[in-house]
């Protein structure tokens, strides 16, 4: 039996003399270590979700969007991005792979007596790829639809359901304003995109009708008249958005500068905003890191508290076992032997807590999903007011958090065990023997 093994056995034996006390001490470290793993997992889950959202907007994309200036700045000449902006960008920025001009207006769509309020989007064929739309029936708009300015349209899934609850809508017609549009395709429904800051707001793709942007220009013009109580409001803009896809991810940031310069030259008003998902992606990564650091800090505090618990118990133990220390010293134990014995006990406490904490940490995903499921079942109203990220986050176990947690538990045990152990070893054997 080696010396280390003997010390370990002895410390386990001593700890088992007070099972409840030892268990409570272990609990502190258990909570701290499980907390580290949980927090890192949840932080990682939230971070991944945010990254996915932003990556969904395309890491190669630059989104230039019209922003309505304050009312007194709006001139009759209109505001926002223009078709000239679009043409200039394509002509002058060589790193652009494709650019999609988009104009969005609110319209009422009609099929006979069925009416449906939705968003009419003028765009080009590339829109489907960038907005990640896939056909359910038929096809998306084509280049020739655009060139020939056809009165063709493509419906989003919900629009199609509402206007054509029975039968196949392909080849049928809907009316927008006083124009007929022939339906060439229906898109599958897709999850709404979240707003990601910048000028990009959340988008709900379910109530859309897509038409060629050239058709929109000739049939509808650039003027919107919005009726408000007591007044008409005119709204003149050519494009709502230009989505630019750059050839290579590395070229995104240099291209952004050129795009900004190119547009700025022709705009006196601050009537547009440039959003770069890649920048947001990098920001999100930094934010996530900060978030995880912050959560880590909280976990560290709980570990320190757990460590103080160990120290407290070990100091009490040293006082309680003064006589034992005296006996062992009298029978030949060196100071070092006593230090080792008490340090071993502290480390055993913290390592047991650490190992249990790791098990608790591994259960993070199933437990949190279970708890969330129950809460959604019992308190649906309260839960619905929570931010989406809380309702949907899937904790992701961070692999390095396990060795980290284990190392932390050992370090806590040593750090907080060393002082009581040294104190035990410094006791005078004669005094200790007299202790009752």
């Amino acid at each position: 039996m080696s010396r280390g093994w003997r010390t370990l056995k002895l410390s386990i034996k001593s700890l088992l003399l007070h099972p409840l006390r030892s268990a409570l001490t272990v609990l502190g470290i258990f909570i701290g270590v499980a907390g580290v793993i949980w927090l890192l997992s949840i932080g990682e889950g939230i971070g991944r979700a945010a990254e996915e959202q932003i990556a969904g907007l395309g890491a190669r994309n630059i989104i230039v969007r019209t922003i309505k200036p304050s009312a007194d700045e709006v001139q009759d000449a209109g505001y926002g991005l223009t078709r000239d902006d679009y043409i200039r960008l394509l002509a002058t920025v060589p790193t652009i792979d494709k650019a999609i001009p988009i104009r969005e207006v609110s319209r009422e769509f009609r099929n006979g007596t069925r009416r449906f309020e939705g968003r009419c989007v003028g765009c080009t064929p590339d829109y489907a790829e960038v907005a990640r739309l896939t056909p359910k029936m038929g096809r998306f708009l084509s280049d020739s639809d655009l060139i020939k300015q056809r009165n063709y349209c493509v419906l989003a899934a919900e629009t199609a359901d509402r206007l054509f609850p029975f039968g196949d809508p392909i080849g049928q017609k809907i009316m927008v304003d006083d124009h007929f549009f022939v339906i060439v395709g229906v898109m599958k429904s897709r999850a709404p995109s979240a707003g990601i800051g910048g000028s990009v707001a959340a988008e709900d793709f379910s109530r859309d009708v897509y038409i060629p942007i050239t058709t929109m220009e000739t049939r509808m013009g650039d003027m919107e008249v919005v009726m408000k109580p007591g007044q008409f409001q005119r709204d003149l803009k050519e494009l709502s958005q230009i989505t630019i896809q750059v050839k290579d991810r590395d070229l995104v940031l240099p291209t952004v500068d050129v795009v900004r310069d190119t547009i700025a030259r022709n705009h006196t008003l601050a009537d547009y905003g440039v959003t770069v998902p890649l920048e947001l992606l990098q920001q999100a990564q930094t934010t996530r890191l900060m978030f995880m650091l912050f959560l880590g800090l909280i976990a560290a505090v709980s570990l320190v508290v757990g460590g103080i618990g160990i120290m407290n118990i070990m100091l009490a133990t040293v006082t309680e076992r003064t006589r034992e220390i005296g006996i062992r010293r009298a029978l030949g134990a060196k100071r070092r032997d006593i230090t080792q014995q008490f340090l071993a006990e502290a480390v055993v406490l913290s390592v047991v807590g650490g190992l249990l904490g790791i098990v608790g940490g591994l259960l993070c995903r199933p437990i949190s999903i279970l708890i969330r499921g129950r809460l959604l079942e019992w308190f649906p109203e309260q839960m619905s007011t929570l931010p989406e990220v809380v309702r949907t986050v899937e904790p992701m176990l961070v692999s390095w958090s396990i060795p980290l947690a284990f190392a932390i538990s050992v370090i806590v045990g040593v750090t907080f065990g060393v002082y009581p152990a040294i104190r035990a070893a410094q006791l005078d054997p004669i005094e200790a023997l007299r202790h009752e």
Partner: protein, 231 residues
Amino acid sequence: MTAVATLAASIRELRKDYVLSGETVHALRGVSFDVPEGDYISIMGPSGSGKSTLLNLLGCLDRPTAGSFLLGGEDVAKMNDDQLSETRAKRIGFVFQSYNLLPALTVVENIEMPLYYGGRIDAGTRDRCVELANLVGLGNRLDHRPSQLSGGQQQRVAIARSLVNDPRFMLADEPTGNLDSVMTAEILDLLASLNAEGRTIILVTHENDVAARTARTIVLRDGHILTDERR
């Protein structure tokens, strides 16, 4: 007992001062005597005479303020803490008035304990501890805890424990102080037989009956040797 044997220990002008709340207490004021190998000495004296202090020094639990204590030729006064521990572990057998067994350990584990620190645990250790338990008449109580034993039995475990390192030099601090006359006799018989094996024994007592069983009695008073008589 022949006086011309090799010396187990030699004590010269041993002094020990304590500082108690700013006041210096002279517990030992110059004590000298020789302990031949195989001697059996009782130390007596009223409380405060310095006998406990002397026993602590002899047991290497403490270092003298002045003077020398040669144990088998080595000067204990010059040892550091680790060397003192090692000497206690390997060369001295200790028996206390209050037994000082560890309540959490069994009889065998208590007997075995000094070996942890002497670094001599091997496959034969347990057998040896069982043998010692048999020697003190506790072979049928190996896995009992101290609380399940009588005072005399506990003291016998303590004696077995003090023997586990096979020390030539044994110290007993009022070993029968807590025992009735029957058990006292048992323990004294045991010590006498150990002495007969050639082990040097020094015991502290204030009972004349106990001192009468030893070969030599040293009486201390106020830190000095009052009498040193061989029977």
